[in-house]
């Protein structure tokens, strides 16, 4: 055995657990692949979208900046789920929770390191997206200045959206403890549910008479389904990437970027608290 001197025994502290979780996250290839692919795909989609829009007479390059976000949630949800549920899928939780038997600090540390990593991915992807709109802007001779007007709020909203999606994945992964169910649930909530709700509001579905569509102009400003849609985590999160002056979605209360961010934050918080309660009160197996 070692010739260890009897040093005062010191155990896990918050900072130490965060350092350990950061090592765990960054020592997996999957984390770096997700970062690279998310940034590349985000930049590429933004580039293509800006190119396509650039033929419009009223083309505003900055409006295309967040178009790359359609697929970005997938990568970040996967990142979060892999951290939250990966422990349980691989059996690594046995090491993690015998090393830090109080458990809760692990979940807090995972939240912090996933947020930090997703922040990096968000900055990277937003940069790639900004580069993606430049060719189209240049071709139209429009100067792009993200420091003016809605620019800073938009960039901040995009980065926070990335962080929010990753944390949503983490919370679901930590709560459900299984990779596939957590990922399916996350994708359902973020990508599928809004579409389902949107289809449900379409008067043509459900046997509506096309002639009565004229009457649908008279529907109230907000509908139940519209409200539900805007309260789904993905849609609420997307509001952070819209301009405060855009006036919200049809049929939904106008939450604005801050309101949307708060709705997403509430989802994350509730799920994380549920995961923490499960972690504290149930066996880890």
């Amino acid at each position: 055995m070692s010739t260890s001197t009897p040093t005062p025994v010191s155990g896990p502290t918050a900072a130490r657990v965060v350092a350990a979780e950061w090592t765990k996250l960054t020592s997996l290839r999957s984390s770096w692949w997700i970062a690279a692919v998310t940034a590349a795909v985000g930049g590429a989609i933004t580039y293509l979208s800006a190119q396509a829009s650039s033929v419009d007479p009223g083309f505003q390059p900055v409006d295309s900046l967040s178009t790359g976000l359609v697929l970005a949630p997938v990568g970040l949800l996967v990142l979060g789920v892999l951290v939250g549920a990966g422990e349980f899928r691989t059996g690594a939780f046995r090491t993690t929770f015998t090393t830090v038997p109080r458990r809760a600090p692990v979940l807090v540390a995972q939240t912090l390191v996933v947020a930090a990593f997703a922040l990096g991915v968000g900055v990277l992807t937003t940069t790639a997206s900004a580069l993606g709109i430049l060719p189209a802007a240049t071709s139209r001779g429009i100067a792009v200045d993200l420091t003016a007007g809605d620019g800073p709020a938009l960039v901040l909203g995009m980065v926070l959206f990335f962080v929010g999606m990753a944390l949503l994945g983490l919370a679901l992964g930590a709560l459900l403890r299984r990779t596939v169910p957590a990922l399916v649930t996350a994708l359902f909530l973020v990508l599928i549910l809004p579409v389902v709700l949107m289809i449900a509001t379409d008067p043509l579905v459900g046997g509506g008479d096309p002639a009565s569509m004229v009457a649908s102009e008279a529907v109230p400003r907000t509908t139940v389904v519209g409200t539900l849609t805007v309260l789904t985590p993905g849609t609420a999160g997307t509001l952070m990437t819209t301009s405060p002056s855009s006036g919200g979605m049809d049929g939904a209360p106008d939450l604005g970027p801050v309101g949307g961010g708060l709705v997403l934050a509430a989802w994350i918080l509730v799920l994380l608290v549920a995961a923490a309660v499960r972690l504290r009160t149930r066996d880890v197996r």
């Binding site: 070692s2 896990p12 046995r94 015998t98 880890v284």
Partner: protein, 308 residues
């Protein structure tokens, strides 16, 4: 010192551990033995706080595991070789463990060297053989230089070199005054390195004794084995004299509650030619099988209708 008291763990209607009490003492290798599914791993998971007991207590150095201030420095745990993310290298796995307790990278390299993992340290754990995984698990258990070690089936999957290494390691650890609790489903494995053996079956304590005591307690101890040309008359003679007789193939009888002299005399009385006669010393493996109840099933199949 590991103290398990009246420990019960149920999953729904299944009782995995049933009122188990035992102690693993410092300076001793305590073997924890039982067939697969006997509740060894469940007990160990409860001891290290991954699972909560339904009833009873499990403590390390007098405290619940969850209440330990610095678990890595107090208890080294190796539960399952699959307690590592397969995508992480052995080195990074150990570094992440070490960071939780502020242990330096020098110590990480030390345990890597000690467990012979140097060539594989920067390979991802998913590419490891079972034996390499066991070495990594043991490296993690040694990381904090703990006074207590809990190792679940550490020799599982090790090559002969590795098995010898683990035996020597646990002997050394105990010689340094540490408490070592080591589980196995192989009696002979534990006989070679354990001082005491705690045997469980279906979640219950079957024996808690030294290896020698368990051998002496075996049914095999005190059994007389006799081979004759005509076992039936001799069996009847011995049964009538109050002995217990098990018939085996090839004209062999195994006799309990009778001495070699009594069996020999009985053979002469009924005019049977004795081909072999001798007393048997107990075998550890047999003692274990008897204790865990597998012996009965084994014999039933072997004896085929023999009287008991």
């Amino acid at each position: 010192m590991i103290t398990v008291e009246a420990l019960t763990k149920r999953y729904g209607s299944t009782t995995a551990v049933d009122g188990l009490t035992f102690t693993a003492r410092p300076g001793t290798v305590t073997g924890f033995l039982g067939p697969n599914g006997a509740g060894k791993s469940t007990t160990m998971r409860v001891v290290v706080g991954l699972e909560r007991p339904t009833a009873g207590t499990a403590t390390v150095a007098g405290r619940r595991y969850a209440d330990l201030h610095a678990p890595l420095h107090e208890v080294g745990v190796m539960l399952d070789a699959r307690s590592v993310h397969p995508g992480r290298t052995a080195y990074k796995h150990l570094v992440s463990m070490a960071q939780t307790h502020g242990i330096g990278k020098a110590r990480v390299r030390e345990v890597i060297a000690q467990t012979g993992l140097e060539p594989a340290a920067h390979r991802r754990a998913g590419t490891f053989s079972l034996g390499m995984g066991q070495r990594l698990g043991i490296a993690g258990a040694l990381l904090g230089d703990p006074a207590t070690l809990i190792l679940d089936e550490p020799v599982n999957g090790l090559d002969p070199d590795g098995v010898l290494w683990v035996r020597r390691l646990v002997r050394e650890l105990a010689a340094e005054g540490r408490t070592v609790l080591l589980s196995s489903h192989l009696m002979h494995e534990l006989a070679l390195c354990a001082d005491r053996v705690v045997i469980i079956g279906r979640g219950r304590l079957l024996a808690d004794a030294s290896v020698q005591e368990i051998v002496d307690r075996s049914q095999g101890a005190g059994t007389v084995r006799v081979r004759t040309t005509d076992p039936e008359p001799l069996a009847r003679e011995l049964l009538a004299a109050g002995a217990q007789v098990v018939r085996q193939e090839g004209g062999v009888l195994r006799v309990r509650a009778a001495s070699v002299e009594e069996v020999g005399t009985a053979a002469r009385r009924c005019g049977v030619t004795v081909l072999e006669l001798g007393s048997e010393s107990g075998s550890l493996e047999e003692a274990y099988l008897e204790l865990t109840g597998e012996a009965l099933e084994y014999r039933a199949a072997d004896v085929q209708g023999g009287a008991r």
